[in-house]
Amino acid sequence: MIPLAYYIALSAVMFTLGVVGVILRRNALVVFMSLELMFNAANLAFMAFASYYQALSGQMFVIFVMAVAAAEVAVGLALMVAIFKAKKAVDVDEMSSLKG
């Protein structure tokens, strides 16, 4: 049996990588990938705890997260396409016309 702490540590590392990716990268696609990384870090933590506590609710949540993430990606990618059509780029820093 691999100890719970290992899963948590991996999950934390993945989440941090995701956060750093979202903050630092300018390519919108990479930002999406980093987001997915964060989702999956959360999923991993859910699964680890679910198996540790022998509870089904954790697994159920993972299903939900996957479904929501899929929907979010679909919307996000559609947005990306629209933005790319307008700006010929997917650089998130280019999308700053709402600044105060």
Binding site: V19, V22, I23, L24, R26, V92, D93, M95, S96, S97, L98, K99, G100
Partner: protein, 654 residues
């Protein structure tokens, strides 16, 4: 309209509300259709309204003859708050009916006169459309004055009091675009209104105190409770009467609030005659006479009233000597005569005061109307438009032969005012002088001096206006006015001659008449006082003849013969003792400076600065805050992350 009676012994008393509603009907009719009817119709309506009110007043007087205790006629219940129950009800007693007769009688004559006078006046001012408006205001004044004199409680009296003040304002400012700099008349109207407001404030305070102390405003209840209240709280009645006096000094143009009346001459002459000589300004005298039971309880206040009246009588008399405006002389004379009346009611000689009020209404209305006739004749004869001021006595002269009716009636009015036996003014003034002599020698001397001045300035005026040679082209070509002008003059002249019959020594008709509503001390006739007052009259007229009659002024520019003899004193009289300047320095200027400070420093700098500063602060704050929203999603994320981390850290580590 709900008509019921409290105590009606005579059905004629039921007519009483008509004295208010007839003039009011005149107002409404003229407002609605006056313009369409034209001058004849509008004037007729106004005159009929006045005459109707006079007829009703006369009917009431006949009713009072058979049942002199009078009645209270309820028109409708006004309001009821707590214990206070106020009605619109008319007090029909000998005092109020006397006032009604004077107001509607003299008022109707002036209305008739005004139909012709205003015909010329509106043409002279190139605005014929205002004819109807004049009569609307005039009838409104009659209605308000009737409310004032017929009220049976102080609040209703106050409504009338304010109503006549409003009409006075409207009529002084009738030619509101006229006067000095196009603002003079409007300013005069405003001044009259503001000064009256100070007085009205006093009356209002008096009413409030009365409400607190007596719990009622009805004359009968207040007067019945006055002795009891005085016994427990003597200061209350004193305060009421003193505040009431402030109202009297405002409305009746006494010291220190008399300054508005001379300026009020900016109104058309019939207005001066009706409102500022015969009726409205006597409201203060009526108020004191009506409140006699209160003043009896406050002898100190009565003494103050007495002295205010006496000093005003002398003070205004001196100013009248130095005036050249034919109406201003009469205005100061009115103030002086009102001083006589106020002094009379102050010393408790209420009948003498009321008697003088009535006779004064006759001859002062006559004098004003005759002066108006002179002004009108001059304006109509002024074909070359070279007359700067048709009211300046210096440009008149020699009008005796040119305006015979006006001259004789003016002379009768002047002699009646001066107190020549057996004209009306002699008896009424004599009664006041006798009462003064019994009350206090000092007041007697003051009033005698005022009587001397009265005779002097009236003689001066007669000499200046009617004698000598004409001093202008207009005076040269002046012609007598048509009968609509002269007939009211003749009627008033007859009243001025025979007015003394009302209260002849030994008969005392008025005294027995007023006995039913007032506490009357029988008047006496003292021969030596009558002789002294006649001697004073003779001396004054002789002096005036020596100065103005013997060698009449030849040109309009000449200095007044008194100016050389009295020097600085005369200049002070001419400048009206600089009272207006003094008030301007004391009240108006500081007030304006305070307003200037409040508007330019306090409002513009402080209040405005506060608003502007707040706006600038919010703006700079929001500019700083808007920098956070830089449009970079990644920096939002960073803030989001830091925030979540901080919250989590707090939750975990607390």
């Amino acid at each position: 309209m709900l008509l019921s009676e409290v105590s009606l012994h005579d059905p004629v008393f039921r007519l009483a509300p008509l004295v208010i509603f007839l003039p009011l009907a005149g107002v409404i009719l003229n407002l609605l259709i006056g313009r369409r009817l034209g001058e004849l119709g509008a004037g007729l309506i106004a005159c009929l309204a006045g005459a109707g009110a006079f007829a009703v007043s006369a009917a009431l007087a006949f009713g009072l003859k058979s049942s002199p205790e009078g009645a209270i006629v309820l028109i409708w219940r006004w309001f009821q708050v707590g214990n206070l129950d106020l009605n619109w009800s008319l007090k029909v007693d000998t005092l109020s009916v006397t006032m009604m007769l004077v107001v509607s009688g003299v008022g109707t004559l002036i209305h008739i006169y005004a139909t012709r006078y205003m015909h010329s006046d509106v043409r002279h001012h190139h605005e014929p459309g205002r004819y109807t408006r004049f009569f609307v205001f005039f009838n409104l004044f009659l209605a308000a004055m009737m409310v004032l004199v017929s009220a049976d409680n102080f609040l209703m009296l106050f409504v009338g009091w304010e109503g006549v003040g409003l009409c006075s304002y409207l009529l002084i400012g009738f030619w509101f675009e006229g006067g000095e700099g196009g603002l003079g008349n409007a300013r005069a109207a405003k001044k009259a209104f503001v000064v009256n407001r100070i007085g009205d404030f006093g009356l209002l305070i008096a009413i409030f105190i009365m409400l607190g102390a007596f719990g009622s405003l009805e004359f009968s209840r207040v007067f019945a409770a006055a002795p009891a209240v005085t016994a427990t709280a003597p200061g209350v009645v004193l305060a009421i009467t003193l505040f009431m006096l402030l109202g009297v000094t405002g409305k009746s143009a006494q010291l220190p609030l008399f300054v508005w009346l001379p300026d009020a001459m900016a109104g058309p002459t019939p207005v001066s005659a009706l409102i500022h000589a015969a009726t409205m300004v006597t409201a203060g005298v009526y108020l004191v006479a009506r409140s006699q039971p209160l003043f009896v309880q406050a002898p100190l206040a009565a003494d103050v009233v007495l002295w205010v009246g006496a000093i005003t009588a002398l003070f205004a008399g001196t100013i009248a000597v130095g005036q050249y405006d034919i109406k201003k002389v009469l205005a100061y004379s009115t103030i002086s005569q009102l001083g006589f009346m106020v002094a009379a009611v102050g010393m408790g000689a209420v009948v003498a005061g009321m008697f003088h009020l009535i006779t004064h209404a006759f001859f002062k209305a006559l004098l004003f109307l005759a002066a108006g006739s002179v002004i009108l004749a001059l304006e109509e004869a002024d074909h070359g438009h070279d007359l700067q001021d048709a009211q300046d006595m210096r440009v008149m002269g020699g009008l005796r032969s040119r305006l015979p009716v006006t001259f004789w009636t003016f002379l009768i009015g002047a002699l009646a005012l001066s107190g020549l036996v057996p004209l009306a003014g002699f008896f009424s003034k004599d009664e006041i002088l006798v009462a003064a002599q019994q009350k206090s020698p000092a007041v007697f001397i003051i009033l005698l001096a005022a009587a001397f001045l009265t005779a002097f300035y009236m003689a001066r005026q007669v000499f200046l206006v009617f004698f000598g040679r004409p001093r202008s082209g207009a005076a040269e070509h002046a012609r007598e006015n048509p009968p609509l002008i002269t007939v009211p003059l003749i009627a008033l002249a007859l009243l001025s001659i025979f007015g003394g019959v009302l209260n002849l020594p030994g008969v005392h008709t008025l005294e027995h008449w007023l006995e039913h509503s007032l506490n009357v001390t029988p008047a006496k006739f003292v021969l030596w006082i009558a002789l002294v007052s006649l001697a004073v009259l003779a001396a004054a007229v002789t002096l005036a003849w020596l100065l103005y009659g013997r060698k009449p002024r030849a040109t309009a520019r000449e200095a007044d013969p008194l100016a050389a003899r009295l020097g600085g004193l005369y200049r002070a009289l001419e400048a009206r003792w600089k009272v207006d300047e003094f008030y301007s320095w004391l009240v108006v200027r500081p007030f304006e400076r305070a307003a200037e400070f409040l508007s330019s420093i306090f409002d513009l700098k402080l209040i405005n600065g506060l608003g502007d500063g707040l706006g600038a602060l919010v703006q700079s704050l929001s500019t700083a805050a808007s920098r956070i929203q830089n449009g970079f999603v990644r920096s939002y994320t960073l803030v989001f992350l830091v925030g979540v981390t901080a919250i989590l850290a707090y939750l975990l580590l607390r």
